[in-house]
Symmetry: C2
Amino acid sequence: MKIAIVGLGIIGGSMAMAIKKYTKHYVIGINRTSSTLEKALEMGAIDEIGSEDSLSQADIIILGLYPALAVNFINRNREKIKKGAIVTDTSGIKSAVCSELEKIAGENGFIFIGSHPMAGKETNGFSSADPDLFSGASFIVVPGSAPYSSVKLLCRLAVDIGFGGVRLTTPEEHDRMIAYTSQLPHVLACAYVLSPQCPNHKGFSAGSYRDVSRVAKINAELWSELFIENKKPLVAEIDTLINNLELIKNEIYEENTEALINTLAKSRKIKEQLDE
Amino acid sequence: MKIAIVGLGIIGGSMAMAIKKYTKHYVIGINRTSSTLEKALEMGAIDEIGSEDSLSQADIIILGLYPALAVNFINRNREKIKKGAIVTDTSGIKSAVCSELEKIAGENGFIFIGSHPMAGKETNGFSSADPDLFSGASFIVVPGSAPYSSVKLLCRLAVDIGFGGVRLTTPEEHDRMIAYTSQLPHVLACAYVLSPQCPNHKGFSAGSYRDVSRVAKINAELWSELFIENKKPLVAEIDTLINNLELIKNEIYEENTEALINTLAKSRKIKEQLDE
């Protein structure tokens, strides 16, 4: 197959490298900055430097763009895309992106399947791309009304390039779950390092500090867009977290040892059951 | 030197193993459960099974007990401890423990030095002990009015058994910093897994979920005591975190992209500067 990858950042770049490393598919790279394309070609991460006109050759088009840019890009190039080709985004929100892209796909004879590779790093750009970024990670797929054979093809590609598993879902379930599993940890890492104590942590910190603060190395522009586009479920999750923090805080403040032990034991039980 | 270790849980047990592995000191184990002592002796983690009467022989006494138990233990055995011997606790709070133990030490002719090894696991007990638990970790020392030579001796022992560095501090600074670097991440891991979404995370989660939820596998009894004994700085840190979560939440809710980007960029900058 010919696969066009649009946007060679950490996700698009890693997709290109992984496809070249683990499959025999032909990869066309499309990117705003031409020096990145040249580097990718030189490294063997892509087979060809493409442009928007190359889209007509592609059997699969993978978008490694910010959500709003992804919609704009496909809208602008909707007539160039081959009939029956599969287009997938890789963005971290689905309700806002999938409905628009599915509509454009339906009107123009190609197939849109939403996807979200659950992998990343605290750095970004092509220089952070890695052919094994997706190793063992979950590939979330929002099939919408796409035909079964196309969904199967995309899932097969995901497994071939190293994903540990595929999770089919709806845009709504995706966005509600991601608000909790991914966006909330990013919000709270940022909130955590804003404490006036943070700059003095050295010598006083260990694993728990390191783990909760890790993703504070955030791509501010990208995550602001993701947070605002997913504001309803995310705000609900932040509220739930604040309520649970208030509960524990009050048990500490009132020195209610019995209630506090019960709450912490409940948390432990939830975590243990999930890790079994 | 003869070193008595009281309480062979994960910390006391790891201390015993590390001392035996990395030094030539003689280790006397003292523990409520005799089967643990027999196992420790068999494994070579201690040289001798001791009792409270063995305390008179020890040059250093390391307490691996819960904070309140540590104070009770030393108070009960204050007359058995050799003049000039060094007693150190290893507990996670310092203001409550150090003032009492320093007073008892002064009245009975031995030396108390507070300490807090910044290492642990999500499991506990002697079966989780590990001679390399402290490898590279910070050893926090609260010298109080202890003589310089004794503090130096204890710090030397810490470095000998693998600690990466020693941080001298006051009980108040210790408790304020630990509230932020260690207790707050434990509180928020517990608060985080209490969300109704948590049990459904599989297939939707990756590193950020894993890292923030890790320490929810908490020892509820121990941490309840630590939280309540340190309630003033800890409640202040929880309030600071809630305020910062509210700030970010409102920027998302109001779709104030510019303010949100600025806040996230500020967090990123703090984290980047600390990691340099």
